[in-house]
């Protein structure tokens, strides 16, 4: 077996493969949240959106036989949840963080309710592109079986960076996030901008969920997402609302999350649960290092309630 010849190299290899596989949901949720937060609102409900996306993608893929229809359905579900969040937040005196918590609970509850009949059947999965065809090492080939969604996510990050910087709607979103008064003075509806930004954010988060159920781990059950959504929201904060930094941070997170299973595969099982908590501990550690009580974070949209 190649296992013996690779020895301890299995671990970094599995972490590398895991970084690519596990990071995709982090990437989509954080890019989505990046758009929402840049418009001046925080949507903590993306955890619920992620689970709803995973469930609806699996259901539609099972019913239609096409996983890509499932991905689309997940995106639309996410956008609807985003619209709900933005709709409630447009009411006067409603706190966006609290609405996020509510949608987190509603999304998970609704997904478990509607997804009950989906635990048994097997739905069509998303295909992967085999980038490792040149290698004989099975672990390397497994690590290089890369899903198209990951590549799309990687492409969205620079696109978003460019869009925020140079396009008209990028400027509008940033204006709404930096100063609602300025956006209003320019004759734009802040609520409408934020509604759109939250819907696009939800769309991306839903797609992130579809990756969970249709590629990796690739099934629907109630333990599918355990905090990836909320970790991704935290990730946006220390990525300084920069889409490119979101990409690198997501990769780092995917690697951290793959550490537990990778160590288990070489027989180190004692701290399995603790290694599984690695992404959360990492998030907390990075937040502790990068935040400061004395100044607001550089790059933080001024209208964002979480930084005030």
């Amino acid at each position: 077996m190649a296992d013996a010849s690779l020895g301890l190299w299995t671990v970094p290899l599995a972490v590398f493969g895991g970084a690519i596989r596990v990071s995709t949901p982090f990437l989509f949720v954080s890019l989505g949240e990046c758009i929402t937060e840049r418009s001046g609102r925080i949507n903590l409900g993306l955890e619920g959106t992620l689970v709803m996306g995973a469930m609806s993608a699996y259901g539609i893929s099972y019913l239609s036989g096409s996983p890509w229809l499932g991905v689309l359905a997940a995106g639309i579900t996410g956008a609807l949840f985003g619209a709900l969040h933005a709709g409630i937040c447009s009411l006067p005196r409603v706190n966006d963080i609290a609405v996020g918590i509510a949608l987190m609970l509603l999304g998970t509850g609704l997904a478990f309710f509607l997804g009950k009949p989906l635990i048994e059947p097997t739905a069509a999965r998303l295909p992967a592109i085999d980038f490792g065809w040149w290698s004989d090492v099975p672990q390397l080939r497994a690590a290089l079986r890369i899903n198209v969604l990951f590549l799309i996510g990687v492409a969205i990050a620079p696109l978003l960076y460019w869009a925020f910087k140079t396009t008209r709607w990028g400027l509008l979103i940033r204006t709404a996030g930096e100063s609602a008064d300025a956006a209003r003075a320019m004759g734009h509806s802040v609520l409408l901008i934020r509604l759109r930004a939250t819907m696009v954010g939800g769309f991306l988060a839903g797609i992130g969920g579809s990756f969970l159920s249709l590629f990796y781990p690739g099934s629907w059950n109630e333990g599918l997402s355990s905090g990836q959504g909320i970790t991704a929201v935290a990730l946006v904060i220390f990525a300084r609302w920069d889409p490119m930094l979101c990409l690198w941070a997501s990769l780092a997170f995917g690697g951290a999350a793959a550490l537990g299973p990778a160590l288990q595969s070489v027989g180190i099982t004692s701290g399995y649960h603790l290694f599984n908590a690695a992404p959360y501990i990492l998030t907390l550690a990075i937040m502790i290092i990068t935040c400061s009580p004395k100044r607001t974070l550089t790059g933080a949209p001024a209208e964002l309630s979480i930084t005030r």
Partner: protein, 369 residues
């Protein structure tokens, strides 16, 4: 939360005005009952519609919900047993809310409290039951208290958002629990469900005489009343509310905001930790993954529905305890998935938050003269 404080100040300003009509005097208080009540009714109606789409009769749903929650002596006991941890986890959100903080990590503090209480009981095997029980209460409260104080400290001294950090700590607490329960603290006899050793039947806190409701309910009631007195009738509570209303004003008058945050967060966490201790000492008898039953998350909803008022938490916790108690009956009689309770809780939460927009806008309650 700041708007809320501003509102109550406004309401206080309105009350002593000339010719205080009934509505003028009590309009604001009536609002606090009427609006959440209307939100609850609206949520139940939407949930009924949802169930109708699912092909079940909503009237059956309402009947079984009532029957499963408050219909019989048995269901009342079931409801109250569930209300006990909910009161305590709701306090974990409501106490920091006085300072304008949104803590949603009650579930984590509950798990750590349960672990600490179990450890204390296992370390004191052979001591008199009352000693073990007191040690469990203290250990559970300290464990949970430190867990939330960590979030408070990170917010105060590192500027880390407390909502996100407390939620991350839930997942970390769950990992710590799973690690200890499957590793160092595992009872070798627990094969299918990894658990710690049992704390021993003699050390269980038992039921209130004449009922099947355990003493945890009394713990919860005492904690809620104590929290109410602390917030509304002590200098400390007043200082906390001042800091919650306007942090700059609090600093100008010389309040030590850091100390306030740490103390309030510790107290909040110790309430949730106590809930964990109760679940161990009155229900499970040991620590295992069953403890992560979602009481911490439902507690957030209880706190928001009660508008972060410790006394209002008691009836709201009983109501939501009832809803979750009726879940089993809905599963058996109507064939609904067990997640239907979660869906209803989510809908209620959304309605309650949306109803925040209504305060001060209901014409006939303004008592215009």
């Amino acid at each position: 939360m700041t708007t809320e404080a501003a509102e109550s100040v406004e309401a206080a300003g309105v009350a002593p005005a000339a010719d205080p009509g009934f509505l003028q005097r009590y309009g604001a208080s009536i609002e606090y009952i009427l609006i959440p009540g209307a939100a609850l009714v609206g949520a139940l109606a939407v949930f009924g519609g949802f169930i109708a789409l699912y092909g079940k009769n909503p009237l059956d749903l309402y009947f079984y919900m009532y029957y499963g929650a408050f219909g019989t002596a048995f269901s009342w006991q079931n409801t109250l047993t569930r209300a006990a941890p909910l009161i305590l986890t709701a306090l974990c959100t409501a106490l920091p809310a006085q300072l304008g903080m949104v803590i949603i990590g009650g579930e984590g503090a509950l798990l750590i409290g349960a672990l600490s209480a179990t450890s204390a009981a296992l370390a004191l095997q052979g001591a008199a039951p009352i000693v073990v029980q007191i040690a469990m209460v203290i250990a559970g409260m300290i464990g949970g208290g430190l867990w939330i104080a960590l979030s408070g400290g990170l917010r105060q001294y590192r500027g880390v958002n407390e909502t996100i950090s407390s939620l991350l700590l839930v997942y970390i607490a769950l990992a710590v629990l799973n690690h200890l329960v499957e590793g160092p603290m595992r009872d070798p006899a627990s094969l299918n469900k990894p658990s710690t050793r049992e704390i021993g039947a003699a050390n269980m806190i038992g039921s209130i005489p004449g009922t099947d409701v355990h003493w945890g309910l009394v713990f919860g009631l005492v904690a809620a009343v104590a929290a109410y007195i602390l917030i509304y009738h002590t200098t400390f509570g007043f200082a906390a509310r001042v800091a919650g209303g306007n942090i700059r004003a609090a600093k100008i008058v010389g309040l030590s905001v850091g100390k306030l945050i740490m103390t309030v967060c510790f107290l909040a966490g110790s309430c949730a930790g106590l809930a964990g201790m109760i679940e161990v000492a009155a229900v499970q008898g040991r620590t295992n993954a069953n403890l992560a039953a979602g009481y911490g998350f439902t507690g957030i909803l209880v706190a928001f529905l009660a508008r972060q008022n410790p006394l209002a938490i008691i009836p709201v916790a009983i109501l939501l305890g009832g809803i979750s108690a009726s879940g089993g009956l809905l599963q058996r009689r109507l064939g609904l998935p067990d997640a239907s309770v979660l869906v209803l809780q989510g809908i209620i939460f959304v309605f309650v938050l949306a109803s925040d927009a209504l305060y001060g806008r209901i014409g006939f309650l303004k008592g215009k003269s």
